[in-house]
């Protein structure tokens, strides 16, 4: 059965993740404990859920750097509602989701209607959504203060599934990864997004409404940032303005490590999922080897570089294979002499 290039790429990433886990597992004994594994999955779920959302935009050939603003804004909105004990948990969650989706919608409008460049617009909208969060922050006589979220049911979201060590957010992350994978590979919307990323001209010529595709991509990215924001606030049981710091760039880096490369058309939800897992295992493992943050930063940078180099090389190989056929330009045919040469 001929393997799709994408599956080859993913098998290799899975291999890397397992290899790294084994490496860390041997060097420190506290790596392969149940508690540590569940913690890895919980840490990975926050940036992972965001990466799933951002992967829609990146596969469609764009980029979304506003994750830190959206996570902070949604977190603060839920904390606001969470403090007023009266609100039932589902209402808080719905408000959070809608807030995230709304931010994504605004991004989408700016890109499709105003034709602004995606890179700088989402970078700026990150600041703007963080500004919304400052608007909602708790204040004691004028000074920003922190207030504990008291809504029990909502807080439980951030904790374990009762009687187990597994965190709700990691389970939701795995489920969402599967759902997003299905959307991206099975539904019409998903196929059109890949087509848009890989060959925009022919997608447009096949009568696909490109603006609508991009808009939905951004709305989903915003929605997933909202989900991540909800889980983080529930876990922290208080919302500070530092929520979601540098998530915008992290999410894009995680996607890139997972094969969902800028430029579009490449990679899918599984890649984003593996990228997140890869990064968090790296950090968690490095932690155990040497607690000093400098080593972690250096390795985090190097690993991203290696992943990107590998990815660029892999894609070049695929292209080289295609062009080698075309380059052998046609040699001329049998002389026409064979044709009746008379008058």
């Amino acid at each position: 059965m001929v393997l799709k290039p994408k599956t080859i790429r993913k098998l290799i990433t899975i291999g890397l993740v397992i290899a790294m886990a084994l490496l860390f597992g041997m060097s420190t004994e506290s790596f392969f404990t149940v508690r540590n594994i569940t913690m890895i999955f919980r840490d990975a779920s926050y940036v992972g859920i965001i990466a799933l959302g951002v992967s829609f935009v990146v596969i469609g050939g764009g980029i979304d750097l506003s994750a830190n603003g959206i996570v902070c804004f949604v977190g603060m909105a839920c904390a606001r509602l969470g403090v007023l004990a009266g609100f039932p948990a589902p209402v808080i969650v719905i408000v959070g989701l809608l807030a995230g989706a709304l931010c994504g919608y605004l991004n989408g409008l700016a890109v499709t209607r105003l034709h602004l460049s995606e890179f700088i617009t989402t970078l700026a909208s990150g600041y703007i959504f963080a500004g919304f969060a400052v608007f909602l922050v708790f204040r004691e006589n004028g000074n920003v203060a922190s207030a504990a979220v008291t809504n029990k049911a909502f807080l439980a979201l951030g904790g374990h599934i009762p009687h187990t060590y597994i965190y709700i957010s990691s389970v939701v992350w795995v489920l969402l990864a599967i759902v997003v994978y299905i959307i991206q590979t099975k539904t019409k919307f998903g196929l059109h997004t890949v087509a848009l990323g890989s060959n925009p001209k022919s997608t447009m010529m096949s009568g696909v409404d490109i603006d609508f595709l991009k808009l939905i991509g951004f709305v989903l990215a915003g929605l997933f940032c909202g989900i991540a924001g909800i889980f983080q606030v529930a876990y922290q049981s208080a919302s500070t303005l530092t929520l979601g710091d540098s998530m915008g760039f992290q999410a894009v880096a995680v996607c890139a490590v997972g094969g969902v490369v800028l430029g579009g058309g490449k990679g899918d939800a599984m890649g984003a999922f593996l990228g997140a897992l890869f990064m968090v295992i790296l950090l968690n493992g490095l932690y155990k080897i040497s607690p000093s943050p400098s080593i972690q930063f250096i390795f985090q940078g190097l690993i991203i570089l290696v992943a990107i180099f590998f990815d660029t090389w892999f894609n070049r190989m695929m292209e080289k294979k295609l062009f080698s056929d075309a380059v052998r330009k046609r040699k001329n045919q049998t002389p026409l002499g064979a044709v009746k040469a008379e008058g």
């Binding site: 980029i63 700016a110 105003l114 034709h115 602004l116 460049s117 890179f119 700088i120 617009t121 970078l123 700026a124 909208s125 990150g126 600041y127 703007i128 963080a130 500004g131 919304f132 400052v134 608007f135 922050v137 920003v144 447009m204 760039f249 894009v252 880096a253 890139a256 490369v261 800028l262 430029g263 000093s292 943050p293 400098s294 080593i295 972690q296 930063f297 250096i298 390795f299 985090q300 940078g301 190097l302 991203i304 570089l305 990107i308 180099f309 660029t312 090389w313 070049r316």
Partner: protein, 347 residues
């Protein structure tokens, strides 16, 4: 033909026209709300505030012009400043040590620039993610060599002290450095073959190759220039503060990118001038200054900056599209929309 000619003059004229109108608007508002804005002290404080990322912006412009980007400028500045300080602390305050330390920091910057250039030009890796990775790596490296400590310089004197705190005709030395580097950058880009070829490589790499311009060489040198300016900014900062820490200049890529975008530099490459970048940096400084002087609740500083970027980008996109008559682009992109009404005469 004259209509076409008029339209472009107006468009080109209008970019600087816009900038002058914005400045006039600021002057009018401040004259009413807070006349103290015009005091020489305040002007100097604005210039000092923007000097550091202004220096970096004039280097980053080269990278953006060739179609790349460098998100690691903050870490490069911190690394440059730290190496500069460590060498001086390890030796003495003499002029000789100052120059060797200065050159050492520049050398390290050149190395980092070579690395970025190699990844982009020879390996074809996307500069956005590469420089994001080196940002982490260099931040960790600076942390490692300083063992996470501050390096205060208590007995600063001589050239080390003058670099950051010296004054020339009352103008602080970082501002002078910014103006000098901006002028050099503008001169190189406008007046020298190298500068013109940077635009060529950014505009159309294939055509550049056929005109004898090696895009690999120009990409490498652009990243080196950016890293060197970042290192210089780091040294200015360290000398002014007389203390160096690995966290210094963290996140400087934010205001630098803002200055470029407000200065109508096209992040895709090939378009943008040093004059625009200077104006962009100045406007960023003025806005931050106005926020304080007018007394807007500074909790919303970043929010206001975000809105201004979107506004600047929208204006640039609108004017450039209008001058190319693309505003009704939807019509052209989707020809099936221009189906004449049934029965309407054709064409």
């Amino acid at each position: 033909m004259n209509a076409e000619k008029g339209k472009f003059l107006k468009a080109a004229g209008s970019i600087w026209g816009q900038r002058v109108t914005i400045l006039v608007a600021v002057i009018v508002v401040m004259a009413i709300v807070q006349p103290r804005f015009f005091s020489s002290g305040n002007m100097l404080s604005i210039l000092l505030a923007i000097a550091f990322y202004g220096v970096i912006a004039s280097g980053m412009l080269f990278v953006v012009l060739i179609g790349g980007i460098d998100l690691a400028v903050g870490s490069e500045a911190a690394l440059g400043g730290t190496i500069f300080t460590m060498y001086v602390l390890a030796h003495d305050m003499s002029a000789g040590t100052f120059f060797t330390a200065f050159l050492l920091a520049i050398l390290v910057a050149i190395l980092v620039g070579l690395l970025h250039g190699f990844f982009d030009a020879y390996l074809g890796m996307p500069s956005f993610v590469v420089t994001l990775a080196t940002q982490y790596a260099l931040y960790g490296l600076t942390q490692y060599i300083t063992k996470m400590n501050y390096l205060p310089v208590l007995n600063a004197s001589g050239l080390f002290y003058q670099l950051g705190n010296g004054k020339l005709f009352g103008i602080p030395s970082p501002v002078i450095w910014f103006v000098i580097l901006a002028v050099i950058a503008a001169f190189v880009l406008k007046k020298t073959p190298y500068g013109r070829r940077i635009y060529a490589v950014g505009g159309n790499p294939h055509a550049a190759e056929l005109v004898g311009v090696s895009s690999k060489f120009h990409k490498m040198t652009a990243y080196i220039i950016c890293a060197v300016t970042a290192s210089i900014a780091g040294m200015l900062l360290v000398s002014m503060n007389m203390v160096s820490s690995y966290k210094m200049a963290a996140g400087y890529e934010g205001p630098v990118l803002m200055a470029l975008v407000i200065g109508a530099v096209n992040l895709m490459g090939g378009e943008g001038s040093m004059g625009g970048v200077f104006f962009g940096a100045l406007l960023v400084g003025i806005i931050n200054n106005m926020l304080i002087l007018i007394g807007i609740d500074t909790d919303y500083k970043e929010f206001v900056q975000g809105c201004i970027i979107i506004l600047a980008v929208a204006i640039n996109v609108y004017t450039s599209r209008k001058s190319q008559g693309l505003v009704d682009q939807k019509r052209r992109r989707m020809p099936w929309l221009n189906r004449p009404k049934r029965g309407a005469p054709d064409g």
